[in-house]
Subunit: 250 residues, 2 copies
């Protein structure tokens, strides 16, 4: 395996900048101290790199510290389906730890930093830190929520609705984490990622995006996404509200 993951200076959990971000929960000192024990390293990966491969046995246990990533699956002939997108605070690789092999792959979308944890101590977490264990379950359930929504989108929304719904979903999540950029939010996806998340062809995804921006719904430029008319977009995309996406992490 090539060496492209760089070590960084380890950020202790008790002073993690993510804790200050809006939706994070306040833990007891005891829990935070345990997290620090659990934490092994602070690692960086460049954009476009697979950090977990489907089939890996005992893949590493990470938490996304900064940057974007996504989970995906492949068919034997190469067709790709993106399952959901990962933002700072999201766990990586826990599913693979629960089964004999990871059922999916994880790839970085941007340069990222991840916190790596000692796999062997997960059981201890359940035994002596029930609050953390509960939250781990909560995070797993939350991720399932996102996949459920994406399945509804891919299965039952038209291409135009689907593209709109995905943009809104990602906007809300990035917004809740404060990933702003002059009027909009950071948006590192290519049209190929959008197509593979929605089960559409690249060409049709492009045409749908153009149509949406042409009727003044949104704009994507220089890696930032801005909504000109968010309410109209929600209506077009057949969305009521998505409280889970807006309040991401405990």
């Amino acid at each position: 395996m090539s060496f492209s993951a760089g070590m960084l200076n380890n950020v202790p959990c008790h002073s993690c900048p993510l804790r200050a971000k809006g939706p994070f929960k306040d833990y007891a000192d005891r829990d935070i101290r345990f997290l620090d024990e659990l934490k092994k390293d602070h690692v960086a990966f460049e954009a476009g790199r697979d950090i977990v491969m489907a089939g890996d046995t005992d893949p590493p246990l990470y938490t996304l510290f900064s940057g974007w990533a996504f989970r995906y699956k492949l068919l034997p002939d190469g067709r790709r389906q993106i399952l959901n997108f990962l933002l700072p605070g999201d766990p990586i690789g826990f599913q693979g730890h629960m089964f004999e092999a990871s059922p999916h792959s994880v790839q970085t979308l941007t340069d990222v930093e991840v916190c790596s944890f000692h796999r062997s101590k997960i059981w201890e977490l359940f035994r002596s830190h029930p609050e953390l264990a509960f939250d781990l379950t909560w995070l797993t359930a939350r991720e399932e929520c996102f996949v459920d929504d994406n399945l509804l989108t891919a299965g039952r929304r038209s291409a135009l609705e689907a593209v709109g719904a995905l943009l809104i979903h990602l906007y809300k999540r990035a917004d809740a984490l404060g990933m702003h950029r002059n009027g909009g939010v950071e948006f590192p996806l290519t049209q190929n990622h959008i197509a593979d998340a929605l089960g559409l062809s690249l060409v049709h995804t492009n045409k749908s995006l153009r149509k949406l921006s042409k009727i003044g719904m949104h704009e994507i430029k220089n890696g930032t996404l801005t909504f000109m008319n968010g309410r109209a977009m929600e209506k077009l995309a057949q969305i009521f509200d998505d409280p889970v996406a807006a309040r991401p992490l405990l």
Copy 2:
């Protein structure tokens, strides 16, 4: 609310017939005793009934004891997407308990019996029965696996592949639970359920099913599904293997 749920004689967990089924785990006496405490009732619902509605706050906590059910979501105009199917041993309503409201509905496919649990004691489960808590997380992760797979199917498989993949998936799960019926397994889905699980139209689903059975892949008759050529079906459906489906519960 109409009264159509019937009370049955309460089956204590320590003598639950599901424990004898292949893939179930052996728990410590202490854990089983706690489960018995946790268990409130044993309830029956008839086929085609919603037992959890999207938006319900604090929905009941169930475990499917016998029969089939499914989780689904609706768009405002009525389009339905089935997320995954529930078989005996599967938990129901835990996601709704984790958020302020249930993000999806659950409907019975057959007459079912469910075990209902005291919601208020879930936290105690995490605090004093880490093994059970871990397994609850495991079950949540396993369900996500199924949804991931279904998303891959709906998004990237052709109609013919998709129908084949769904039939195989359900066959494996029912088989692992011993739900046999003269050469095949119990299969209570209508073509409408298949269509809504795969994001296809009813008509096209029918034509795909007919094509598959016409080329000798399978047969569905009197509520039982039989494969005439399982290996060929797996190849056609672009499936390698699905270890998670075959080994369902712990």
